[in-house]
Point group: C2
Chain length 200, copies 2
DNA sequence: GCCGCACTAGCACGAGTGTGCTAGAAAGGG
DNA sequence: CCCTTTCTAGCACACTCGTGCTAGTGCGGC
């Protein structure tokens, strides 16, 4: 086998360049040339890994979803389901530089998905996963099996987190966003309280 | 004065063509040519009204915000603040073809605003207006003057509506979305209940 | 009538786009 | 050593883009 490079690392490097361009110049500025420049690579090399622009942007979308899910899975568990829930949901809010980038990129990809069918599927899967997570959290918090109540609670939690994310995006970077976390905690505590009600 | 056309109507016609293109092909496909084609007008005519692309898209953003606010203002009042609140908030959810278009366009404009500073301002103003509406609704529902409690309730309401909108967008067109309205109603009823608590 | 301006129609240019293609460089296996 | 395969580098083509510009067209006012 002749000279071979770490293809996964190269792909990740290019995907990160895509995110850079999106946050700096917007999704419209994402072209094979701009991304190659940003990654410090010539167009030919980029196209050796991603033959078309669609390949490039769909991969960066997939990697983004994957990264978020890894982070979600990596939050360690405690014996208090409330703490766990808040800790996981916190990772979905644009509170840090990283999560802020993630959210901006997500918005851009949603906007682009009208023209790029492959993105629609990625987005749908990610959304369904998030929805499932929220429902599971609701089950764990209330201590009840899945029924229409826990499902509704899960959807509500999901909506709250998405809406708070939207609001944090409109808020300047330096302003503190812990009020949003407090609001999530409140919702989580409310769900937990119904469990205590049932146990009594 | 030589031959003169209704400039406002022409601008609106072109703005609607912009929305059409966004929902069909995505924001990336919005060009002076595609929009002129969609509106059944030659590029020269479009450019007589909107000299640059930026003028075109900022105006369509402004018109969109204006339309939504007109509809909000046009919802007639009853003597029950709960009914009023739900009726107004319903207009912010992508439940009909029209509101669905509005939401998709909003997403597209958010994505584009990274590259187009004028859009950022429009978006910020619209978001602040919506935030104010939600706070006012919270005040009216609880029957309390503005304080940190009603403000938090307003933010919560706002987040819920935005999040539900996001979820409805991911839901196929034909599926019923009244569950989201029910969730809004639930939240509104909860706020109203704290008023009864205070009155007792 | 006919003058003047709002409007229509479209050409032209330079820049940027995605992608097909080819030629060279580099590195591991024989 | 050389040979094969991966990767790099870049040219070329057809196309779209925004915008500057000019020539025509038709209507309202005099």
């Amino acid at each position: 086998m002749p000279r071979t490079l770490d293809k996964q690392a190269r792909k990740a490097q290019l995907a990160e360049a895509v995110w850079d361009v999106i946050t700096d110049l917007g999704i419209a500025a994402v072209s094979v040339r701009s991304v190659a420049d940003r990654a410090g690579v010539v167009v030919g090399s980029l196209r050796h890994v991603f033959p078309t622009r669609t390949d490039l942007v769909t991969f960066s979308a997939e990697l983004m979803v994957q990264r978020v899910q890894q982070r979600l899975a990596a939050t360690e568990r405690t014996d208090d389901p409330r703490v766990d829930a808040v800790e996981q949901l916190r990772h979905l809010l644009p509170l840090t530089e990283q999560t802020r980038v993630e959210f901006e990129v997500t918005i851009a990809l949603i906007a682009e998905s009208v023209a790029e069918p492959a993105l629609t599927e990625i987005r749908d899967v990610a959304h369904a996963d998030l929805s499932r997570l929220c429902t599971e959290l609701a089950e764990r918090l209330t201590g009840r099996p899945r029924d229409e109540n826990t499902e509704r609670a899960g959807r509500r939690l999901h909506a709250l987190v998405d809406g708070l994310a939207m609001q944090l995006l409109h808020q300047a970077d330096e302003v503190d966003g812990e009020w949003a976390v407090a609001m999530v905690r409140e919702e989580v505590d409310n769900l937990y309280r119904t469990r205590e009600l049932g146990e009594h």
